[in-house]
């Protein structure tokens, strides 16, 4: 028995040591404390309940294991015959109830903090897509909206185990969300197709992105740095490949970044409005094609027999131009052809349609201008 007690104490000690040394940093064992007031109060709450559970566990399992060891028939013990005690039963109803109330109070306080709504310095709209995130900076001071997609940047060779994996395997994106430190950032979260969930543990934010509903959350990060997370709602085959990276910068740096982004957006607006020639569009379209279409339809426009249709001489690329635009904007349901309408700019959409109608000997000679796409889109919405 002496030996057994020693073992029990030793293992309890090891458990406490492990948990306390690993609890305070970004760890592989425990929840992160994070970098916001909320993430820290959630962490404290988590540890509080954890220790309460450990305490109750030690008492209950202690008594149980004691009985299992001491009250054995093989030790010649005679069974007692008690099977009721109103007093004891009342005690073990009331005491847990009191413990619950003690936990409910701080929990409600943290919850209220998370739900607090107030004016924000920056507002960002987050839209979930299968399988990428779109970030839109909402502000009323300028007309050029900053908006871009953020997709998985881990190369497929790493996923297929052909090359060594990076440290941030699967947690790397093409372009992170950029926000300022110490400013209140309002997050408006929604989805374009299925339900996703935007989760960054270090910020203590997890909120579902649901089509047809705009959810609100907020964060205020104290430390600059890169914080990583992932989509947390099963959203289809690439659910595991939908990371989130938040790049938190000092406010001045953030402003510089935003200004540059706004500049780009303004230039893009100018491009949309300018008068394009056929050759200009075909040239630009070739590049867009090379980036987004070539993998399936192939550089020679011949597609892949039985899997992806050819474009060279195809009914779509040489037929009614509006049908052609519609397919590229909306995709084809039930096939690998995605809807590019929201992923590409009007300029790129116009360019790629024009390119497809004039490449590989599809000498249609017609063209779509970016403004036509704008018109087409607004016509679709009505």
């Amino acid at each position: 028995m002496q030996k057994l007690k020693a073992w029990l104490w030793l293992s309890a000690g090891v458990l406490i040591w492990v948990l306390s040394t690993h609890g305070h940093s970004e760890s592989r064992w425990n929840m992160t404390e994070g970098v916001t007031e909320i993430s820290r109060s959630v962490y404290r709450l988590h540890m509080l309940i954890f220790w309460v559970c450990v305490g109750i566990g030690i008492i209950v399992f202690g008594i149980m294991i004691y009985s299992m060891l001491m009250h054995r028939k093989s030790r010649g013990v005679q069974a007692a015959n008690f099977h009721e005690s109103t007093l004891v039963e009342i005690i073990w109803t009331v005491v847990p109830f009191a413990i619950l109330i003690a936990m409910a109070i701080p929990a409600a306080r943290t919850l209220a903090q998370i739900y607090e709504r107030g004016p924000a310095e920056v507002t960002i709209e987050i839209v979930g897509y299968q399988w990428k995130w779109q970030y839109r900076y909402v502000s009323d001071t300028n007309d050029a909206k900053v908006a871009y997609f953020s997709t998985l940047a881990t190369p497929p060779e790493q996923i297929a185990n052909k090359v060594a994996k990076d440290e941030n395997y699967l947690l790397e994106v093409s372009e992170p969300l950029v926000i300022p430190t110490n400013q209140r950032v309002r997050l408006l979260i929604t989805s374009n197709d299925v339900i996703h969930s935007w989760w960054v543990p270090a910020l203590g934010v997890k909120k579902d992105a649901i089509p047809g509903i705009v959810n609100e959350s907020w964060t205020k990060v104290e430390q600059a740095g890169l914080y990583r997370g992932q989509c947390a709602e099963l959203c289809g085959k690439d659910h595991g490949f939908m990371p989130i990276v938040v790049d938190v910068r000092e406010p001045e740096e953030f402003q510089t970044w935003l200004a540059a982004k706004q500049d780009d957006a303004r230039k893009m607006a100018e491009l949309t409005n300018k008068t394009w020639t056929l050759t200009e569009l075909v040239d630009r379209g070739e590049k867009v094609y090379g980036q987004f279409c070539v993998a399936c339809h192939q550089a020679n426009g011949m597609g892949v027999e039985g899997a992806f249709p050819a474009l060279k001489g195809s009914a779509v690329a040489t037929g009614d131009i509006n049908k052609h635009i519609a397919i590229i904007l909306n995709g084809v349901n039930g096939t690998a052809m995605q809807a590019f309408g929201k992923q590409l700019s009007e300029v790129d959409l116009a360019a790629v349609v024009t390119y497809e109608r004039n490449a590989w000997g599809n000498n249609m000679g017609d063209m779509v201008a970016p403004l036509d796409i704008v018109k087409f889109k607004s016509g679709q919405q009505e």
Partner: protein, 531 residues
């Protein structure tokens, strides 16, 4: 006149089962049907377990090795559906069929023809569900929770077969539940008042009401899906004025009571086994009954704790958080009562008792993580991570499944007339116990550290714990073959079992010989004294 002579001697040739395959096809005997349910459940357990091992094999190392993400999602979905509807629920129905009539002194179930039907539609439902794996577009790939619009607008065509399969399972469960209620109400032996019924009967009575209340809700939600997919309605389609959140409310109004359907009968089993091997009456019979009823009631008002992150208003979150935390009180009472039953008992540790003790400890650990999940602000961090996977597997595997195994060992001598091989039983227990903990304990850690659930691949920081977890899963999986061996050996050979093989066991089932005669209690036994 003949009725009188029947009381005096048992002519097996007149009352025994028919011979051959038709015995099983047309049987209306509660024991045969119980046996059918149990074998069906075990085969589904192996099938669903195989799917789990495909998942764990893929997750053994980071990177994609064995399966593609599409197939991975089909595996998680089929694993969850088959374990819940094919393994755990039918196993408890099987136990109910075998034991409830014997425990209350009834000759059979109240509605024997319906009993036959409610079993035999199950194999069709699961054959249909499993056949989707071979269909174009693959099996359901949207999780056992099948959230819209992933399961409506974006699903493979096989979703229609999935919906039909769910309808059939639901019909089976409802018929089973009606039968159990009718049996308990009408066929109790004289003197068996409600407060003298064994707890297993009580917990099943309450479970049957849960089933009748929520299975139609499940049927409703899949029917709404069917309408959305094929008939142009928009219940769950935002573009047509519906709401994906509506789906979740309806689903979880079924789904939360469903998880109690999988655990309440387990409470009954453990409440029979612990007193038997502690040789001491169950502590707090009355409070056990009330605790079970309160848990069942509370299970109807906590569904939104699965939806803390969908954006419910603050007051809603507070309500569901408080209601969920409250469940800890009656659950605690049950655990304390079991411990008090062991305290100052005279315990022996045959295999059923080992499983029952492991049940109490590991189910309580699952309860602790459940309490943590109830705290809404913390749940924002836990939700949809491996912490949740660890939580529900602690409740379902060493909870529901261990209790089923405990029950099997406990009543096997009564069913077969033979004692099982105690050494092999213990081997099975220890391998399962170790396997289960190696599998699921590390999942708490990866979950807290940020690994989402339902992903086929993960960051390197989660690699070592996932490897450990996968090794545990294979150990657990393989040890179930030992179980199969024990049961086979016990059916075909083994020492002859006395009517009451366990010294401390109580209840009417032990008053009849082992194996229990094909027709028990042609005249009702008289019940007096305690429960």
């Amino acid at each position: 006149m003949t009725a009188i002579s029947h009381e005096h001697d048992h002519h097996e040739e007149h009352h025994g089962p028919a011979k051959g395959l038709t015995r099983w096809l047309f049987t209306t005997n509660h024991k045969d049907i119980g046996t059918l349910y149990l074998w069906f459940s075990f085969s589904m357990f192996l099938l669903g377990g195989t799917f789990a091992l495909v998942i764990r094999a893929e997750l053994f190392q980071p990177g994609l090795q064995l399966v593609q993400p599409e197939f991975f999602n089909q595996m998680t979905t089929m694993h969850g559906l088959i374990m819940v509807f094919g393994a755990v629920m039918p196993a408890f129905v099987g136990l109910a069929n075998w034991m409830i009539p014997m425990m209350i002194g009834a000759p059979d179930m109240a509605l024997p023809r319906m009993n036959n039907l409610s079993f035999w539609i199950l194999p069709f439902a699961f054959a249909m569900l499993a056949s989707t794996l071979f269909m174009e577009g693959g099996a359901p790939n949207f999780g056992w929770t099948f959230y819209a619009p992933l399961s409506t607008t974006y699903a493979p065509p096989s979703v229609t077969y999935f919906i039909f399969a769910i309808h059939i399972m639901g019909a089976s469960s409802i018929m089973g539940a009606i039968n159990i209620i009718a049996t308990i109400f009408n066929l109790r032996a004289p003197g068996m008042t409600f407060m003298k019924m064994p707890l297993f009967v009580w917990t099943w009575l309450i479970t049957a009401y849960l089933l009748i209340a929520v299975m139609p809700v499940l049927a409703g939600v899949v029917t709404m899906m069917l309408m959305d997919i094929h008939f142009g309605t928009s219940f769950f389609n935002a573009a047509g004025g519906g709401s994906p959140v509506l789906f979740q409310h309806v689903f979880w109004f079924f789904g939360h009571p469903e998880v109690y359907i999988m655990i309440l009968p387990a409470f009954g089993v453990v409440s029979a086994i612990i007193p038997a091997f502690a040789r001491k009456p169950l502590f707090g019979y009355t409070s056990m009954v009330y605790a079970t009823a309160s848990i069942a009631f509370l299970s109807f008002i906590v569904w939104a704790h699965h939806m803390f992150t969908v954006g419910i208003p603050l007051v809603g979150e507070l309500f569901f958080m408080y209601a969920t935390m409250l469940i800890a009180v009656p659950t605690g009472v049950k655990v304390f009562n079991w411990v008090a039953t062991m305290f100052r008992g005279s315990m022996t540790f045959e295999t059923p008792m080992l499983f029952a003790c492991a049940f109490v400890i590991l189910f309580t650990i699952g309860g602790f993580s459940g309490l943590m999940l109830a705290i809404a602000p913390a749940d924002f961090q836990y939700h949809d991570t491996y912490f949740v996977v660890a939580h529900f597997h602690y409740v379902l595997v060493p909870g529901a499944v261990f209790s089923i195994m405990a029950a099997t060992y406990y009543w096997l001598p009564k069913w077969t007339g033979h004692m099982y091989d105690e050494t092999l039983g213990k081997v099975h227990f220890w391998l399962s116990f170790i396997g289960v903990n190696i599998t699921f304990f590390p999942q708490h850690f990866v979950g807290l550290a940020g690994m989402p659930r339902r992903i086929p691949d993960y960051n390197l920081q989660f690699a070592d714990f996932n490897m450990i977890s996968s090794m545990g899963a294979f150990l657990f999986g393989i040890s179930q073959l030992v179980f199969l061996l024990v049961v086979f050996k016990c059916v075909f050979s083994g020492e002859k079992a006395p009517a009451k093989p366990w010294e401390g066991a109580e209840g009417l089932e032990w008053t009849v010989p082992s194996p229990a005669p094909y027709h028990t209690f042609t005249t009702p036994p008289k019940v007096d004294g305690g429960h």
